[in-house]
């Protein structure tokens, strides 16, 4: 579905992502693990268009999306969440989610003057969709609150609802489990597998090994900007290179 070949990103003298190639198969949940500073989030930013690669190619279902801007990557069907969630704090949860659906006619300013009924009908649909996804992540009781009242874990759930309402085919989740209490994490994992069962492909950066082991297949391991290995979670867990990358070279 998504194919990366030779992706490279340098920041000054540091090569944060160094010739990374991989293929994501449709309808999988792929894990992306590696020690801090391995280049995982930079790789996410390259795919999502927040950063432009210095070299390499990205294709989504055969279409070249190398260096595309974030809004066109989103339009192409790739949604992403952030490691530190970025809700719009002063906007209500409902509005946070209503923002995301693609191709809203009311986002062209003149349509609001010339065809208010059309916008109203569209807004009702968008609102119902937003309600559905807030319900899905268990936040509908807070729909009218500004997003700034949410806890860290709830913000991650809001971001998932906000991305899913736009019906992406591939979702990049950056540490959905970090800083989330165990009960909420359980809920997030359930939501991810439910969505995956409906055909959504995921790429997940995660440090929580329980989540990775139970959800992700296959798992990509990065270290020092390079792709160290790719394999089933069990194989990754027992591979000496992975332990070495996390713990440093044993004497």
């Amino acid at each position: 579905m998504l194919e990366a070949s030779g992706l490279t990103k340098r920041f000054g003298g540091l090569t944060a992502v160094d010739g990374v190639s991989f293929t994501l198969r449709a309808r999988t949940i792929t894990g992306l693990i590696g020690p801090n500073g391995a280049g995982k989030t930079t790789l996410f930013n390259l795919i999502a268009g927040a950063l432009r690669p210095d070299a390499g190619r990205l294709t989504l279902e055969g279409r070249d999306i190398t260096g595309a801007r974030p809004h066109s990557v989103f339009a192409a069907g790739i949604g992403r969440t952030f490691q530190i969630p970025r809700p719009f704090p002063e906007m209500t949860l409902l509005e946070n989610v209503m923002l995301a659906p693609k191709g809203q006619a009311g986002e062209r300013f003149w349509v609001n003057w010339l065809a208010p009924r059309r916008v109203a009908a569209e807004e009702r649909r968008v609102r119902e969709a937003a309600r559905h996804w807030l319900e899905f992540v268990g936040l509908s009781h807070l729909a009218r609150e500004p997003a700034k009242v949410l806890s860290g874990g709830q913000r991650k759930l809001l971001e998932i609802a906000r991305v899913m309402v736009a019906e992406p085919r591939l979702v990049l989740l950056d540490e959905p489990g970090a800083g989330v209490n165990p009960a909420l994490l359980e809920a997030i994992m359930e939501k991810i597998s439910a969505l995956n069962a409906e055909g959504v492909t995921f790429l997940i950066i995660e440090h929580n090994m329980d989540l990775v082991m139970s959800l992700c297949r296959p798992v990509l391991v990065m270290a020092g900007g390079r792709l160290l290995m790719e394999g089933e979670p069990e194989a990754v867990r027992s591979d000496p290179r992975v332990a070495e990358a996390y713990l440093g070279v044993a004497a």
């Binding site: 999502a48 927040a50 801007r69 974030p70 809004h71 989103f74 339009a75 949604g79 992403r80 952030f82 970025r86 809700p87 719009f88 704090p89 002063e90 906007m91 209500t92 409902l94 509005e95 209503m98 923002l99 995301a100 693609k102 809203q104 006619a105 009311g106 986002e107 062209r108 300013f109 609001n112 003057w113 208010p116 916008v119 109203a120 569209e122 807004e123 009702r124 968008v126 609102r127 500004p146 906000r162 991305v163 736009a166």
Partner: protein, 316 residues
């Protein structure tokens, strides 16, 4: 009695024209966070554009084209929109503080052009005999002032409706999202640059329209009508009225123009003839003190920003 009424109409026409420009600034600053310090420039583009289109032919100058006043107003909106688009396409890529410097520079350039490009603007003498709509039918004097007031109020009401609709629409929702976190909004498929440019151009069009309404009320325009003090006045109106709130923007325009006019009148009464030119500076001081007081006591303005929720997200 009649002179009091006449003065009131006179006052209200100016205040309403400033309210139109303040609504434009509120769309830029209040809704989008664009720091436009070139209000006077866009105001004067509208004033000159309408003057050129509607004045009788003048062999020494561009135009006039003696077109109907309504065409002149439309032309003012289009001209200020085009200038805003050119400025915005370049400057909106810059961060906030740079946009301020750029727009200030543009306003100064426009003023210098007005002063020097005699074949377009008439130079320091300005452009004269700008037609007052329907003055032949109605006759000059109080009745015409009231007629013009009604026209300006109708335009102000229509613009209030238009901008209020936008702020509460999906388009306004995208603007709020961009203002709060541009990166997150882009990650959700919104082209921040395009939305900012639209808000900037629409706001400047309102300023240009205000300039045209001013020109046709006064009957002539000259460069000294559009000094940076005008930009300062419009900003003070917005901040005192309540940035981010369209009703606040309108209220601020009336309140500040009332204080400006009354203080000007008082100074003329109190201060001896010889000192009047110097005393005029006290007006600016007074407005400055007022601005400082509002920022200290009511930083959100007379009617501050409410949490704006797009119309259909607030229902049901």
């Amino acid at each position: 009695m009649e002179s009091a009424l006449s003065y009131l109409a006179f006052f209200l026409v100016f205040a309403s024209i400033f309210a139109i420009a303040t609504l434009g600034l509120n769309l830029q600053w209040g809704a989008t966070g664009l720091f436009n310090v070139g209000v006077a420039g866009f105001f004067s583009v509208g004033a000159y554009a309408s003057a050129i289109l509607t004045t009788p032919p003048d062999p020494e100058r561009l135009g006039g084209f003696a077109l109907p006043v309504a065409v002149g107003w439309l032309g003012a909106v289009v001209a200020s929109g085009i200038v805003a688009w050119a400025v915005g396409a370049a400057a909106l890529r810059l961060r906030h503080d740079y946009l301020a410097i750029t727009t200030f520079g543009v306003a100064v350039v426009i003023q210098l052009v007005a002063l020097n490009a005699q074949w377009i603007t008439g130079g320091p003498f300005g452009r004269q005999s700008i037609p007052r709509p329907l003055v032949a039918e109605i006759g000059a004097g109080l009745l015409w002032n009231l007629f013009y007031l009604a026209v300006v109020l109708a335009i102000l009401a229509a613009l209030y409706w238009a901008f209020e609709t936008l702020v509460r629409s999906p388009w306004g929702r995208v603007l709020r999202a961009i203002r709060e976190d541009e990166g997150a909004a882009e990650s959700l498929g919104k082209r921040a640059m395009a939305f900012r440019l639209q808000a900037f151009v629409l706001g400047c069009m309102a300023m240009g329209l205000a300039g045209a309404l001013y020109a046709h009320f006064v009957g002539f325009v000259a460069p000294e009508d559009f000094l940076p003090i005008l930009t300062f006045q419009i900003w003070v109106m917005l901040i005192i009225g309540g940035s981010g709130n369209n009703r606040g923007a309108i209220l601020g325009a009336y309140a500040v123009w009332a204080i400006w006019s009354v203080s000007g009148g008082l100074l003329r009464e109190i201060v001896p003839q010889a000192e009047q030119a110097r005393a005029a500076a006290l007006q600016v001081v007074l407005i400055g003190v007022l601005l400082a007081a509002i920022l200290l006591l009511r930083p959100r303005g007379l009617i501050g920003e409410e949490r704006v929720v797009s119309r259909h997200a607030g229902q049901g």
